[in-house]
Symmetry: C2
Subunit: 564 residues, 2 copies
């Protein structure tokens, strides 16, 4: 039995991965055949007269400057990792010069990306990483650690450090070994370059799961998850990645920091929690020990329909405060609920029978007080049959009090089936003058409703013809995450400025509400301004003091996060 | 209803607190009347011919050097906090010059403590802390932040920073306000100087609990808990303090670092987890927002008797892996079980009836395979009646499989009743040439049994006539804490050397097993060597880089933790 729809057969060879879009060439959007209808739907929502074609530029046409690594650098770096593991060809350089944010893909699409790495190095073991960092420190070469390359916050923006001459991408994906496996303590140690599905598949074969399924799961790595503090969709059960790690090994230019494999300790500032979120600025994460779990006996994923957002927030809050075990409580606000409903109708014939069924459904909803503000909450339960039944019954009490109705398991199954699929939609709509981006934050329950509203308003004000919506996908004792999606017609003349404005307005809103600039995407380059302002100068200066000790020459991922 | 035996009426005025022993003058060991019998029991265990009296030196006789604060310092510092809040008298200086470790108390007892603070300052608000740190940075005065003063790891050892002229204790216990209370998100914000019982009492009055009950609870503060990463006895349910905090305010000489009140975030290294465990080296913790809980409907605490340590470890491990909700799983090893049994018999008349009952009990235990290696596990359950019943039944399956027998709720009630009382025993035995100390660590389940044994052996080898025992008081998904107690006859000539040897041998053992030097006591001065060696130079240097940015003049608690 394999857990949660992993696809262990993805071919990650660089020639099979899209350099300017999401995913592998042989993977695609599951509803590709419905693209014409989806585009029409968006055209209507955006009030567009026509749909324009905006094809991407070809790889050969990307304006790629000559690489800045000298012949001697290439010889010496090749000497460390072997000739085949240092790459300077066009595909490798372009693939490693951006992440997968809308802004990244837009620039690749339109040939406006300006900075590129000069080479890519693939170490196979720790000793090679140590030598590479030593060489680059001595020879003024910036190093950007690279996992799956799925950053959506400019974490891979190519910024050369001050006084440095070239930029090297350090790609970890050849370091994928299972180093140790401890079924007694339920932990496993992996090299950090392993992709999600390969790690999960390896554990599943032994009867275990990591349970960490971020939306990027298929194209992100263990080390990347830790570096960016990612959250899996079942984080209510398994925790965010920073709660899952038991120990970490970080290779810095000043030496190795490796935390003890212990369940808890009282030994100064917690290095696991310094390394988690370090985004490549402090060193290269080379090994991670993670907590693992037995694959649950069963699961039950189902939908609920609530009258409005406040009743659904209260349901989620109470489920957390009553400590009811769930894997996922995923609330779609009224806008997202409406869009998913439209999408769900696509491809279905509007017969008289269907129309009548729909009429009855809506009449019933109206009768129980659920109207145009309705919100769907998807509930995920994993565990033993007893546990799942128990949680279901405890939740039922809550949702009935909240005025919700049970909407069945089909919604849940559909979600599971398409959980990693939405990023592929962007690949298609960007060919037709449309864009999509996501922003996320978190706050305490007392402020959730206000911040939800303010976030939506700022998005809609930033691009008036857009569709802005939000879901609440991770919840805790004291609050929850808010995850916004905006779909919009790309500005024909200045699409980058359009994006800057949108990003700025929503980020200012988060900041004004004293909410963090990210719940699980990270800071990178794009969120730096708001992150630094939120933490304040003393904290930022102190982190730079920490960095300068580990990375004296400041070669590691400069210009991001806390680094000016 | 008040939760977990708090005593909200302790008088914390300095004249009522023991300066050279545990607790307040009007609080004492609950079984004080049995002290003669307890001393006889220990005499027999230690093979002592006689019990010698070792009374403590009087406060007036403590060799206290003249204070090094100049008249101008005193005037300026008084100017910041008011005349009454700067103290330089004998009692205040001595009280603030040591923690409560055996080594601290031994030195006060025998008049061998060498370093004393020169004054004590009691700020009442953040702005005063800021001014005090500014003044001391400019005027070369070391500052040691002080909470309850209950450190048992030399966290308050008076070490003057290099080139500094005087040492000031910064006592936080006048900062005790409830700043905000949020029942929706279930959080509360307190000033950090509040003592455990006052904080818990304030919450109980509103129907809430923090659920954090370290053994030092009655004499420790919120800020101290965070600074040292303390663990409460119900940590299985409520978490260690670093899991309980939602946000923290740290006042450093370089300015304020205050974390956002958010349930989770992806914004770089986690400052909550840098500040937790910072032990006064990075700044003064002035405010903490903590997660709170409704007072549970009911509780059930009971004992189980297992045949040996492995079967009891496996029970605890499986209870964690099956995610059965517990507040406490507290395993006493065979030695501790035996000692508690002896103590339990004290004061009871050994009638023929009792002897026969005891004979029947032992025969039954033997018959079910439980003999001289038996271990008691105390189980604590708090929650709704349904939750408590459910956990009880799930655990019953496990303990039956583990060959344990149920030993009733009396054991649990006794434990609850005397939970904060054991530290008072030391006050008495140190008057009669006997000592007691505790050491703790943690490790993963696969290594627990080996480390348990090695720890006991190293303690027994360090002081051959001692009683060494261990309990396992906090457990997790991947492992548990080991908490050792050693009772011993004090060396008549060189009691300090005796303690150094014991501490060194057990610490070397933890270190050799790659286990942290502390699970919840902290590092301070006493554990510094092993902590630094366990983390390694790159990590230590980096933390000093962090410190130097926040505390440029290195005035804050120098010479401890990572600071050389």
């Amino acid at each position: 039995m394999f857990y949660h729809e992993l696809n262990p057969k993805i071919d990650y060879s660089r020639s099979n991965l899209r350099w300017n879009a999401w995913g592998a060439n042989d993977q695609d959007f599951g509803r590709k055949s419905q693209m014409p209808e989806i585009l029409k739907l968006l055209q209507r929502e955006f009030n567009l007269n026509s749909i324009r074609e905006t094809p991407a530029v070809a790889l050969e046409d990307i304006k790629l400057p000559n690489g800045k690594l000298s012949a001697s650098d290439i010889k010496n770096l090749s000497g460390i990792v072997g000739k085949n593991n240092l790459k300077t060809d066009r595909l490798e350089r372009v693939f490693h010069s951006a992440g997968k944010s809308y802004y990244d893909v837009l620039r690749l699409h339109t040939n406006t990306l300006k900075s590129f790495v000069d080479g890519v190095i693939y170490p196979k073991k720790d000793s090679e990483i140590i030598k590479v960092l030593e060489y680059c420190s001595k020879n003024k070469i910036t190093v950007i650690p690279f996992g799956g390359g799925s950053s959506v916050v400019g974490g891979l923006e190519v910024i050369k450090g001050k006084g440095q001459k070239a930029v090297l991408s350090l790609d970890m994906t050849e370091m994928t070994e299972l180093i140790s496996f401890d079924p007694i303590s339920m932990t496993a140690t992996f090299q950090a370059g392993i992709y999600g599905p390969k790690l999960e598949y390896g554990l599943n074969l032994k009867g275990y799961t990591l349970g960490h399924f971020p939306q990027s799961f298929e194209y992100s790595t263990l080390g990347g998850w830790v570096a960016a503090r990612s959250a899996g969709q079942q984080s209510n059960r398994y925790g965010k990645i920073e709660e899952i790690i038991s120990s970490v090994k970080l290779i810095s230019p000043n030496g190795v920091v490796e935390t003890l494999r212990a369940p808890a300790a009282s030994i100064g500032p917690d290095w696991n929690q310094i390394i988690a979120g370090s985004e490549g600025l402090l060193g290269v994460i080379s090994e991670v020990t993670i907590k693992i779990h037995r694959i649950p006996e069963t699961r039950k994923y189902f939908g609920l329909v609530f009258p409005d957002i406040l009743s659904s927030i209260n349901f989620i809050r109470k489920a957390n405060h009553e400590e009811i075990k769930t894997s996922m409580l995923r609330l779609s606000d009224a806008n997202e609920t409406r869009l998913y409903e439209y999408l769900g109708e696509l491809g279905k014939k509007n017969t008289a029978g269907r129309k009548f069924k729909k009429f009855l459904q809506n009449s019933y909803l109206k009768w129980v007080g659920i109207g145009g503000n309705k919100c769907v909450v998807l509930v995920g339960l994993d565990g033993s049959r007893t546990e799942v039944d128990r949680s279901f019954n405890s939740l039922k009490n809550l949702w009935k009090k909240g005025g919700a109705i049970y909407a069945g398991e089909k919604l849940g199954q559909n979600w599971i089936h398409s959980r990693y699929n939405m990023p592929f939609l962007r690949n298609h709509i960007m060919q037709f003058g449309m864009g999509v981006d996501t922003m996320e934050t978190s706050t305490t329950y007392d402020r959730l409703e206000d911040l939800h509203k303010a976030g939506i308003e700022s998005l809609q004000n930033s691009i008036p013809s857009s569709i802005a919506m939000c879901h609440l996908s991770h919840s805790y004792h004291d609050g929850a995450c808010l995850y916004y999606t905006i779909l919009f017609p790309m500005d024909e003349k200045k699409p980058e400025d359009q994006w800057f404005k949108m990003k700025r307005m929503v980020s200012d809103t988060f900041h004004a509400h004293k909410a963090p600039i990210s719940h699980h995407h990270g800071v990178g380059f794009d969120h730096k301004k708001w992150y630094q302002s939120g933490l304040g100068k003393p904290g930022i200066d102190a982190l730079n003091g920490l960095k300068k000790s580990l990375d004296q020459k400041e070669i590691l991922n400069p210009g991001k996060l806390f680094h000016s």
